[in-house]
């Protein structure tokens, strides 16, 4: 069931558009903001609120790369794997992170602390290599910087 807070936030978005189902992507983002990912139950709840079928909502949810339809860790690391970041060495950073956390792209650490995902691009090409952890941007990355950044996220 959606919380009162989630419903209120979704209703606020609906006001910006001529009819409710237009707010579908906003609704998915709002639910994800509160629950870290979007479960089957949440898909059905959003569908009911917006007057859509669950299948239609799921078709939209699975199209967009920043909507998660599987459980994720408490913190999401998005490594930019675009060409600018490749030239500047994202691959060695990824290998380092992957070894340190013992996970590959798409996986979550066994303690649920981190999920690591590839992403192209973060719009930080002049400061490559770049990554995001949750909503925070980091750039001009080095292995030393990575250690320090990870420590901030529990």
């Amino acid at each position: 069931m959606l919380s009162v807070e989630e419903i209120n936030e979704i209703q606020n978005e609906i006001k910006q558009y001529p009819y409710p189902k237009v707010a579908c992507i906003d609704a998915l983002k709002i639910v994800q903001q509160h629950r870290a990912w979007v479960s089957d139950e949440s898909v059905s709840d959003i569908a009911e609120l917006l007057g859509m079928s669950a299948e239609e909502v799921d078709g939209i949810a699975t199209f967009y790369s920043r909507i998660y339809r599987q459980p994720v860790g408490r913190n999401i690391i998005l490594i930019c794997d675009s060409v600018s970041c490749m030239i500047m060495g994202y691959e060695s950073l990824y290998e380092y992170l992957s070894k340190k956390l013992k996970i590959r792209f798409g996986e979550t650490t066994s303690d649920g602390r981190f999920t690591i995902l590839p992403n192209s691009c973060l719009g930080d090409c002049d400061n490559a290599p770049a990554m995001m952890v949750n909503n925070d941007h980091f750039n001009r990355l080095t292995i030393e910087k990575l250690d320090e950044i990870l420590d901030r996220y529990k």
């Binding site: 967009y64 920043r66 060409v83 490749m86 500047m88 192209s120 719009g123 002049d126």
Partner: protein
């Protein structure tokens, strides 16, 4: 040298508020427009200025606006103005600078553009990763509402406009203007068939103009200072300065506002500081990942829409990705094609099937298991993903770095295949 768009951006950390924007003359153009200009007069100034869209395609902005019906037939109302702030092209980061640095310049431009086409609702479709820009924009829009620049009866006129930020949920295809409209309607971001063009049948089936951030940021300056002033800013007569950017192994990667028509060499050597020691220039994608390579022999070409097109590439977004001699060109192109393959919306066959095929061949060449006949197959694929063979511009964009890469780096491809390994590993 004038830098109208960026002169008031002091540093990327100082977020501009309304008070500061007004101190440098902000919103005075809007005042003038609402008091003394008709919508047609505004459109005409923009048309005469020959402002070409800064999102990558370079379509004339005034011509786009002129297609919007100006009658008051009910089926044509309400009309919409949409700002494309999706900026998802790999290697592109210029709009971020304007969004974070001078949000009111964009908002004022949007209000004037909306007045010109008589739209009453406007949306900013924002790249999902631009969290700081989102905050800056939301604050600036609130300020604009409280000051009476947005809402009903703007500055005492009978013009009304609402503005709303929609932060995206990812996918490169959202930057394609009709896919963007579908996404803004809450649907999967599939491009639409054209015609009908958005100017007649756009958001929610109503007349809609979609313009890029940099394009809209120009509007107040052009209307204020005139078309002739704008034309004089460029070295080639096209009109205006442009945000150019450089990433890769250069000494000072970054973004700068410079006259249209400066040469690649000037951008690369003077502004980006030349190559990092020990690295040589081999080529560059001049306007984002979906543009054809330029190489050494093109460095004295002027960066303008026509002149770059004349040497077989595109100005695109004006943000250049540099390939150096320590980076493998095959792996560079493989990275780009993998991106396009992943981001295909899957609607039409050349794109959905062709791009993964291309990606697999490039991957095996890079791994040392490629065959010489792959080179012909790659050229074949690039040819059949070109304009006219696909539903939208996604696959043709992907074909550009591929076809030009095969031409300029042919020997490197062959060496991978004959040596059965990547010479750079």
């Amino acid at each position: 040298m004038e830098r109208p768009l960026t002169q008031h951006i002091i540093s990327d950390t100082s977020v501009r508020n309304l008070e500061n924007y007004r101190k440098v003359g902000g919103y005075s153009c809007l005042q003038k427009v609402l008091k003394s200009m008709t919508p047609g007069e505004v459109t005409n100034v923009v048309k005469v200025s020959n402002l070409l869209g800064r999102g990558g395609a370079g379509f004339p902005t005034g011509a786009k606006w002129s297609l919007v019906p100006m009658d008051t037939v009910k089926s044509n109302l309400p009309k919409y103005l949409v700002c494309n702030a999706d900026e998802m092209e790999p290697g592109t980061f210029k709009d971020r600078y304007l969004l974070e640095g001078n949000p009111h310049q964009l908002i004022e431009g949007m209000i004037i553009a909306a007045y010109a086409i008589q739209a009453e609702k406007s949306y900013i479709f924002l790249r999902w990763a631009y969290k700081k820009a989102e905050k800056v924009l939301r604050t600036a829009i609130e300020e604009a509402y409280s000051a009476g620049y947005l809402g009903n009866n703007i500055l005492g006129s009978d013009f009304n406009l609402d503005m709303h930020v929609h932060s995206s949920a990812g996918r490169y295809i959202c930057g394609e203007e009709t896919a963007l409209l579908n996404s803004l309607e809450g649907k999967r971001a599939l491009p639409r068939a054209k015609p009908p063009y958005p100017a007649l049948n756009g958001l929610f089936g109503r007349p809609t103009v979609v313009n890029n951030v940099e394009t809209l940021s120009w509007i107040s300056h052009i209307v204020e200072k005139g078309a002739e002033w704008f034309k004089g800013l460029s070295l080639t007569g096209t009109g205006g300065t442009k945000l150019f950017g450089v990433s890769g192994k250069v000494r000072k990667p970054g973004t700068w506002e410079l006259p249209l028509g400066i040469t690649f060499r000037e951008l690369l050597e003077e502004h980006a500081g030349g190559m990092i020691d020990g690295h040589k220039f081999r080529g560059a994608l001049p306007g984002g990942a979906s543009t054809d390579f330029i190489v050494e022999e093109h460095l004295d070409v002027q960066m303008d829409f026509k002149t770059v097109a004349a040497v077989g590439s595109r100005l695109g977004t004006g943000t250049m990705i540099v390939l150096d001699d320590k980076t493998c060109p095959v792996s560079f192109i493989h990275n780009v094609e993998k991106f396009f393959a992943l981001e295909s919306c899957g609607w039409c066959t050349p794109c959905r099937e062709g791009l993964p095929w291309v990606e697999k061949m490039l991957s095996s060449i890079e791994e040392g298991t490629g065959k010489i006949e792959y080179l012909d197959l790659l050229s074949f694929s690039a040819k059949y993903m070109s304009p006219g063979n696909t539903f939208c511009a996604h696959a043709p964009g992907a074909a550009e770095p591929l076809q030009s890469g095969l031409k300029y780096f042919h020997d490197d491809f062959v060496k991978h295949i004959t040596d059965k390994k990547c010479p750079w590993r």
